[in-house]
Symmetry: C2
């Protein structure tokens, strides 16, 4: 009988960060696609758009005016999902009906005054300013008594629900630790207690030896396709040093984070020669006033495109009711990304 081979045979893989399994069907990428195709809108955008509520000097929906900012700029989200003045409290009725108040602060971060740019098209020195603003916000929000977690993220592309192409990200800072990071907290803590090292430092060491899922690295960071990736071209950026949050990064490391962010998103854009949609975000230590030596700073990228600029992976049906599933292997995805030109397709 043939031997099990995870490059060829359907299998499950374990995600040690969340403690959950995913399903991989390597053979299934051959299936023809007759379903929905996405619109590919690649219109050239102006550097300034008078209709854009994120461009400098424009008025936002609340009536406030953006300053004439020169690099980065953050402000409180005009449609915050979390509010500061929410009364504390709980509701419960037996074991089956439980609700509890949640409060927080939502902010928007403009990455550049230039409406036409995206991260891979920005200069490293300007992306570095985004990293600095993330750090500042993480510190200011995290220092507050009423904020236990600062979630920094970027939704890019209209197929990812992003309603404005101006380069920007968001922060949702909450009193309580969100679901995904609480899973990661639990599993990282168990690992740290067992081994005395962070899970991701051991993981990264192994990956750097194996090489097959590595995409790009610099002195301080590595971008790779995690062994347990579920989205077709899902990736992670992991810091080489055991740091639990942005504030522990040195000056050089902050620039290196900007550098790897640009290199990874350049690969993404080059894959289908289209501005590549994704949700990305930093995962770092909670700001609950405790030490978190178990936490290892990293950034996740969840991009939906699968076969081309217009065919995405749908996480529906079996994925919602059963197990998240992918059609290509992490190794195959890494190989494709790694072999792409390092120069952005628009500059060639």
């Amino acid at each position: 009988m043939a031997k099990f081979d995870y490059i060829e045979n359907p299998h499950r893989r374990y995600n040690p960060l969340t403690g959950e399994w995913i399903l991989v069907s390597p053979h299934r990428s051959k299936r023809p696609w007759q379903g929905q195709v996405e619109k590919v809108v690649e219109e050239k955008r102006p550097e300034y758009d008078s209709q854009c509520y994120l461009c400098p000097t424009n008025e936002r929906v609340g009536g406030e005016k953006n300053p004439n900012y020169e690099d980065v700029y953050s402000f409180q989200n005009d449609f915050s999902a979390l509010l500061q003045d929410t009364p504390e409290g709980e509701f419960s009725d037996g074991d089956l009906f439980k609700a509890e108040s949640e409060s927080g602060i939502c902010k928007v971060i403009c990455f550049s005054p230039n409406h036409s740019l995206t991260v891979p098209e920005m200069k490293v020195e300007n992306i570095r300013k985004v990293v600095d603003l993330w750090s500042k916000e993480y510190k200011e929000l995290g220092d507050r008594e009423d904020i236990g977690y600062v979630q920094i993220f970027e939704n890019k592309g209209s197929i990812m629900g992003c309603s404005n192409p101006h380069p920007h990200g968001q922060i949702w800072a909450s009193k309580l630790v969100p679901l995904e990071t609480s899973k990661e907290s639990e599993n990282q803590l168990a690992y740290f207690e067992k081994h005395g090292r962070t899970m991701l430092s051991d993981y990264l060491k192994s990956e750097l030896e194996k090489k097959e899922r590595i995409l790009v690295e610099n002195n301080s960071f590595v971008a790779l396709v995690p062994f347990w990736a579920v989205w077709p071209f899902e990736t992670m950026i992991i810091s080489k040093r055991e740091v639990s949050n942005l504030l522990e990064l040195t000056d050089e490391e902050k620039t290196d984070l900007a550098d790897v962010y640009k290199k990874l998103t350049t690969m993404y854009d080059n894959l289908f020669e289209v501005s590549f949609a994704y949700s990305a975000g930093l995962h770092q230590a909670p700001t609950d006033g405790e030490e978190h030596p178990e936490w290892h700073l990293h950034m996740h990228f969840y991009p939906p495109l699968l076969r081309s600029a217009s065919v995405k992976k749908f996480m529906v049906g079996y994925e919602m009711l059963g197990t998240p599933q992918r059609d290509i292997t992490a190794e195959g995805a890494a190989k494709r990304l790694r072999e792409l030109s390092k120069i952005h397709y628009k500059l060639r």
Copy 2:
């Protein structure tokens, strides 16, 4: 100071089936939408389409021909994500790299020979035939030694990745219990051991007293918006009797399941007067050869539309990296659905 009120204030709710929390931002539904809008394609379809690989007598991609079936018809998926002949085995390297072989059988179930229909437009007696085929497949697949779980589901609508509008569903039957149902197994078992009743029988009793999230009921089933719903118009169908799978249903109960499936999907279509997209699926006892008195048969519906036929909820960014989030309350969604006409909009 104001009192916490879960109808007005941002809060978290607990899902006792999965053991996970979700975030609710009731005030946020007022936010204007400038993002992606979905194409609404409501073309009238013919009863028979010679290009459709699910219509009777047509050839499928593998070269096989569909019989001239008269009501329902099932066959093995030509692009199965799970295969029967996968060699057993495991791969591991420390705690951080773990993979294991997964095998199974994927089938497609045609709900009707009539290409133009959808569930809410079918007669109850014909939907009943779908329920009978589900039962037959659950028994046949579940009786196999190599199948531990039979996941029956329906993806409806192109925005849900459904590539063919012919009324149909799927079955992915696997050796191992999938992620979502293993969470539900664990939590239902803990509840059953503590209370001696199934979690959902107690839950349903409470909901029938409270009434505010109930949509429709008949003698054997109730459709409701669960307290912990995350998709805007997420619902569940729950059996009134403690039954762990389809095979325990009486003849009358099977017809009642067909009836409530039609009534619920009619409400859905009437909400925005459009054929309403969703992923739906049955959750029932694993077929691992054990008794599962803790398992309570139910069906989940996860529909993406939020504001109109063309604006959906994006589960991106914070939802992927933090906590699933909704903008309207379960109670508000239930009220809107409940107040709709019971007659399908196309028949009015």
